[in-house]
Symmetry: C2
Subunit: 331 residues, 2 copies
């Protein structure tokens, strides 16, 4: 097995976030489920956008954000995702390349346009996401480059990709390619609501031993295992996975690997501004440690530091110097 | 004369800002003049964008930013500017309408695309602007609605509009319409570099008594008057204008009207993050007070409070509740 060219190759939706502040009354008036991600069509996207306040556009997408965190930490990251040939596609492609991430999927001509996520941020920093998948749902199996997959130590996939048909099929092929090349497969459950639609698929992937590192938050853990008790959920799931990572927001995070368990508190944050990308950044920090053979506890701390940085400002990608933050924290 | 429907109608370039941090070495490497605004063509825009780091897109444009400040303060504002029929044009139109500003100029079909300004922000908070005018330079005299001008107490124009040919001609017509309707004309010199190209035009406007309120910064004042001494510049210019306002960055601002002079220090700012829009917001605060008949000193304070808010975060439009900030400051 050759030395991998990349630490992590991530496959995910290629999305530009459209972030605007709002209050709880606005969410209620729009019938939005606070903290969740909803898929929306063109009409709903236009109507919601018309109601939203002034916004800012910042490149997003869950796995793409994780790549940005990895690159900021000094990992070598590559990304596969589909944009359209339009201005927002140019923005996404510029931002991911400017972050030092390998990205060479050609933009798709014609409709639909590049994906965007209308993100409403309440004064408590919670984000409520409304995703128009656009071109992103047309990521096809042909974009899944087996050589690229073989060139990365870890293949990282977001659960969100299970919603659109073409990418879902492409992901299975990507996992095959990674396993055939002897690479690890990391997977994030992304959102508890996905479990209603794709829980059986996710459980099947885990039971078949096709996932090496699983990222879940507390609600997703419960949804996946059917356990109402956190510890019971961990006890059920951990034996099925080489590495299980569960994030618990302000309660910190735990990881279990090979029967060993580690736990860290959340890092302190002066003010939670916008939680968009917290889980994505946590995964970046954890994977950065994981590919370097760091201890389970240090992997968790790297995740917590990266998550704390991204929730302290608007937008889902790091703005501060993560390398320096980590060096200060871990020495 | 009927009661005006709007407090201020502003005419300016319709621009989406593309903001990215950089260091001084990057500016030097790109041959950029720190703190200034340069006009760039398509090739240069593409090359510079490719070199820039990850960015965020936030609606901008000098006079449009002033409208956003006015609306945030509770003034009734309207804006005229030209976007293209494209995604960035949609972003600009959404943001300005969502801020509560009247805007009904139809987007322009075909090339060029909506204007953007590549803004590089150094760690000291200074912004260096590179403007691709795109559709904005095609603002034509037909977009200048005389009825709309007559419906606003103040017509506000940005000096930047003197660069492209069509808008420059349209502005002269707009001033005619405002004066015919008995409305006031406010004007900002925008950038000292404009004085090399259009100083004679600006001086002619002032000498002909066609401007009621002039906004300038210290460097622009020197450039316009040819005086190397600040007080000499004020002494030369003030008698030619009903109201002269000069901003002096961290030294505060002065205003002279009818022989009376007022002066305020800069408002304290915890950390200067990005000075983009400081002058635009200052003008918003001043005009908000001016149309309400506030004292010259209170007008300046309103300007200083609005400017302090906008330099405390990325982007040129207010994010905090300016009404509350002002109420706390002025009681």
């Amino acid at each position: 097995m050759t030395q991998p060219r990349f630490d992590v190759l991530a496959i995910g939706n290629a999305i530009v976030d459209v972030l605007a502040p709002c209050d709880d009354a606005f969410l209620a008036g729009e019938g939005l489920d606070k903290g969740a991600m909803a898929l929306i069509d063109t009409d709903r996207a236009e109507a919601l956008y018309a109601h939203m306040g002034p916004a800012r556009e910042i490149s997003g997408g869950s796995a793409a954000n994780t790549c940005a965190g990895l690159a900021a930490l000094g990992s070598r990251a590559a990304f596969i995702g589909q944009v359209a040939k339009d201005q927002l596609g140019d923005v996404f492609a510029h931002d991911i390349r400017a972050a030092g991430i390998h990205f060479d999927v050609a933009p798709r001509e014609g409709h639909p346009p590049t994906a965007r996520c209308l993100i409403l941020v309440t004064p408590d920093g919670q984000r409520t996401m409304n995703t128009f998948l656009g071109a992103s749902q047309h990521l096809s199996a042909t974009a899944i480059d087996a050589d690229l997959i073989a060139s990365a130590a870890v293949l990282y996939l977001e659960g969100y990709l299970w919603d659109p048909n073409d990418p879902r099929a492409a992901m299975q092929g990507a996992i095959d390619a990674a396993r055939a090349a002897g690479r690890k497969v990391a997977f994030t459950l992304s959102d508890a609501f996905l479990l209603d639609r794709h829980g059986d698929d996710f459980r099947a992937l885990i039971d078949a031993g096709r996932i090496d590192v699983l990222f879940a938050n507390e609600v997703e853990l419960m949804g996946l295992t059917g356990e109402a008790d956190f510890e019971a959920g961990v006890a059920m799931l951990a034996p099925k996975l080489p590495v299980l990572v569960v994030t618990r927001s302000e309660k910190g995070a735990i990881a279990v690997a090979g029967g060993q368990r580690a736990e860290v508190p959340a890092e302190p944050v002066a003010k939670v501004v916008d939680t968009t990308g917290a889980g994505d950044s946590f995964a970046a920090g954890f994977l950065h440690g994981h590919v370097r053979g760091a201890s389970l506890r240090d992997c968790l701390t790297m995740g917590a530091v990266a998550a704390a940085e991204v929730i302290s400002h608007y937008g889902a990608r790091p703005e501060a110097d993560l390398k320096t933050l980590l060096a200060q924290r871990l020495g």
